[in-house]
């Protein structure tokens, strides 16, 4: 059964320090699908991305996660990345003095090496990188600048998408890639994502706002609240949420959290 899924998350519980954030999360994603994850602040949306990518300090208590049938939880951060998991950061960090080009080539070569391939030639890579820059509307001189060094918020987000274009991951997690973007930058990000939709690659789009989903059409929308997915639906759910907010969650939770959990994940 699980073979048909690209990503399969079952009963995932995880904590940060002493606090349990994910409290039994289930999520199954088939190749080519786009899943949007929405929900109130503090629900665990960013945590999900960090736990899946293996960030230190995010401890899995129980549950199973497979990517392409492989047990993701036993892999190191970089092994998960090389296995095809990509996380576009909400707040990309700066690495002064390390040029974008050098960083990207090292990343691409690490991926190639994991697949038993030779490093890409500098000439070919430069060509690809220039092409990727163009696609996300960043001038080619960004390749020479330090990673995210002095980039504006929008440039950082576009830089993340450029990395995604070059690394060609199987599963992309976009952690609020729309936050702080004006409408033009938002379109650039969306275009980048859409250009990579090929029926195989899957996306988890974490967002607060329905707005991004106007440009990246999700196959499913999930509501993440208090560490679990409490409601799933199609793209129309996002519009509903935009309308209603999340106040209804509190009422439901008061009724019977356990039943609610089952209802959603049947």
């Amino acid at each position: 059964m699980s073979n048909e899924y690209l990503l399969s998350v079952t009963g995932l519980k995880a904590r940060v320090e002493e606090k349990t954030i994910l409290k039994g999360l289930d999520l199954n994603i088939k190749p080519g699908e786009v899943h949007a994850i929405m929900g109130p602040n503090g629900a665990g949306k960013s945590t999900l991305g960090y736990v899946l990518s293996g960030r230190d300090g995010y401890q899995v208590e129980s549950g199973e996660v497979t990517l392409d049938g492989q047990n993701l939880l036993e892999l190191a951060i970089e092994e998960r990345a090389r296995a095809g998991l990509f996380l576009a950061f909400q707040y990309p960090v700066e690495i002064p003095g390390v040029s974008n080009l050098e960083f990207l080539k090292a990343a691409v070569d690490a991926h190639r090496q994991a697949q038993g391939q030779e490093p890409v030639s500098a000439k070919d890579f430069l060509k690809q990188a220039r092409e990727a820059c163009k696609q996300v509307n960043l001038p080619a001189e960004f390749l020479k600048r330090g990673v995210n060094e002095g980039f504006s918020g929008g440039e950082k987000k576009r830089n993340e998408i450029m990395q995604m274009l070059l690394l060609q991951p199987k599963l992309c997690i976009l952690d609020e890639s729309d936050s702080g973007l004006d409408i033009d930058a938002l379109k650039v990000v969306a275009d980048g994502v859409n250009s990579m939709r090929d029926g195989q690659r899957a996306f988890i789009v974490v967002t607060h706002y329905q707005r991004l989903l106007d440009y990246i059409k999700p196959d499913y929308v999930h509501v993440l609240a208090d560490g679990a997915i409490v409601k799933s639906g199609d793209a129309s759910l996002a519009l509903e949420l935009e309308d209603q907010g999340y106040a209804w969650l509190a009422e439901r939770r008061a009724q019977d959290p356990v039943e609610m959990h089952h209802e959603v994940n049947q």
Binding site: R55, A76, V93, I95, F103, A107
Partner: protein, 478 residues
């Protein structure tokens, strides 16, 4: 994450091997007789011996400086041997073919092939092994251009006037405790003279290797760039891995006459001792240059080795419009201690200096920048810019900055910028999430931090320095 980084920092010292070479080594101990023996073994003229003895007398009246941010046990100067030379050097080899193959193999292993046909084109090497210069390559080619590049011992014989005129002219005998000791017991080192208006046709390089146990290395380098000349000089150092501490007290003097330029680059990789601070080289070095009118001296150093580093390559900007530069990367890990920086003494009008210092501390190490910028009353319109950046890796190391600024001329401008940062978990996570392992990530972040300094190094050295940092940061990540 800190644990991971520290694991990544546990590394091997690749130059730690010992060469099985028969040596003639003096018994430990220091007195006038020993100095007379050193002088005799080198067949020195009497003026040289007198000079040594004068320095020795001064040294005996001096005390070990204690102002540096360093902790080490008292050094027993009587327990050190002051001269060691490979036996095969006793009858001086006249050409490379006559040099002990074991010696050549040692340098080969260190990546410094001395056979000219194998060498990087355009770099001449003086190889100093313990107390003697083993070989100097490309001499003929240099002599064609009028450039003198030989061991200092040879210069004492062949060019006594130049040596007499300039030896001790930049670093006086009594300058400091370790300099005085060096003056008394120095054994070998390099001598360079670039004639007027000559651009040295190749990079000059000296490679220092300590091999013998319980032996100090006291080398002496003197570089004279005559009016309007240019030279780029590279210096590299390694030593075997031993449990005992070894003393290295060198003196380097640079003289840049009017309109001359000297670029002096160092990659220092002496054995740093083990994780607990056992063994390693005590590196107490005095390096100083003097710039006459419109002259320029540029010091670039990459310091990754030594248990203790005490070193302040400095410039006396005597001439008008003279320029001094200091670019430094100092990496400490394990239990290493470094107290390093520079002095820029502005005397001339419109003299300018730039200081870029990058300190990287990891493990339980301590890394201090100590720098002095002095604007003397005559330094009309002089300028200095200083930038000191510290990078901390892990949470058990220390970074310290001690900038001294003395301005006695109101028209002089002194700028100082300093930052301290950490290799953050976020940076590492970003790199790893893009597929890089922690080791590669740390090395990349550190290299990025050092970029402003690396770009000052000659091409081959920049590559070597980058690799050296990578090796220094090597060790598998669990």
């Amino acid at each position: 994450m800190t644990e991971e980084i520290n694991k990544a920092l546990e590394r091997k010292y690749e130059a730690g091997f010992v060469s099985a070479i028969e040596s003639e080594t003096f018994a430990p101990g220091l007195n006038e007789e020993v100095i007379a023996r050193i002088s005799a073994v080198k067949g020195e003229p009497s003026w040289m011996l007198e000079w040594r003895l004068k320095a020795f007398a001064a040294w005996q009246q001096m005390e070990t400086p204690e102002w540096a941010h360093l902790h080490f046990p008292t050094i027993d100067y009587q327990a050190i041997s002051y001269y060691s030379a490979p036996k095969s050097m006793a009858d001086k080899p006249q050409s490379l073919d006559e040099v002990d193959p074991e010696l050549l193999a040692t340098y080969e292993k260190l990546g410094i092939p001395l056979l000219e046909q194998q060498m990087l084109a355009g770099v001449a090497v003086d190889a100093v092994f313990d107390s003697v210069s083993v070989v100097t390559t490309f001499r003929d080619k240099l002599e064609e251009a009028g450039v003198i590049f030989c061991s200092i011992s040879e210069a004492v014989h062949r060019f006594p006037e130049l040596v007499k005129q300039y030896l001790g002219s930049v670093v006086p005998q009594k300058d400091n405790y370790f300099a005085a000791l060096n003056c008394a017991v120095f054994t070998d080192g390099s001598f360079v003279y670039i004639p007027k208006g000559t651009r040295c046709p190749m990079e000059l390089s000296t490679y220092f290797r300590i091999n013998e146990q319980n032996t100090g290395q006291f080398e002496r380098t003197l570089i004279i760039a005559d009016e309007g000349s240019y030279v780029s000089y590279l210096e590299g150092c390694t030593a075997p891995q031993r449990d005992e501490n070894q003393l290295h007290a060198a003196v380097v003097e640079l003289v840049a006459l009017d309109n001359a330029e000297i670029k002096y680059s160092t990659v220092q990789n002496w054995y740093p001792g083990d994780e607990n601070g056992k063994g390693g080289i005590y590196n107490f070095v005095t390096k100083r240059g003097i710039c006459h009118n419109n002259a320029k001296i540029s010091w670039t150093q990459v310091e990754t080795g030594s248990a203790i580093t005490w070193k302040y390559p400095s410039c006396i900007l005597k001439g008008d419009n003279s320029v001094g530069e200091f670019y430094s990367v100092a990496l400490t890990r394990g239990a290493q201690q470094a107290d390093t920086g520079t002095k820029m003494i502005h005397l001339g009008k419109n003299s300018r200096s730039t200081i870029i210092s990058k300190g990287i501390s990891a493990g339980r190490s301590n890394n201090a920048y100590r720098g002095l910028v002095r604007m003397n009353p005559g330094a009309e319109g002089a300028r200095n810019f200083t930038q000191c950046d510290s990078l901390l890796i892990g949470d058990q190391c220390g970074a310290h900055t001690f900038p001294y600024v003395e301005s006695r001329n109101p028209s002089a401008i002194v700028e100082h910028e300093a930052t301290t940062s950490k290799v953050s978990d976020e940076q590492l996570f970003l790199c790893q999430q893009r597929g890089l392992d922690a080791e590669k990530a740390v090395s990349m972040i550190v290299n990025g931090f050092c970029k402003e300094v690396f770009k000052e190094l000659p091409m081959e050295f920049a590559v070597e320095a980058g690799k050296l940092l990578e090796i220094s940061l090597e060790g598998s990540v669990g």
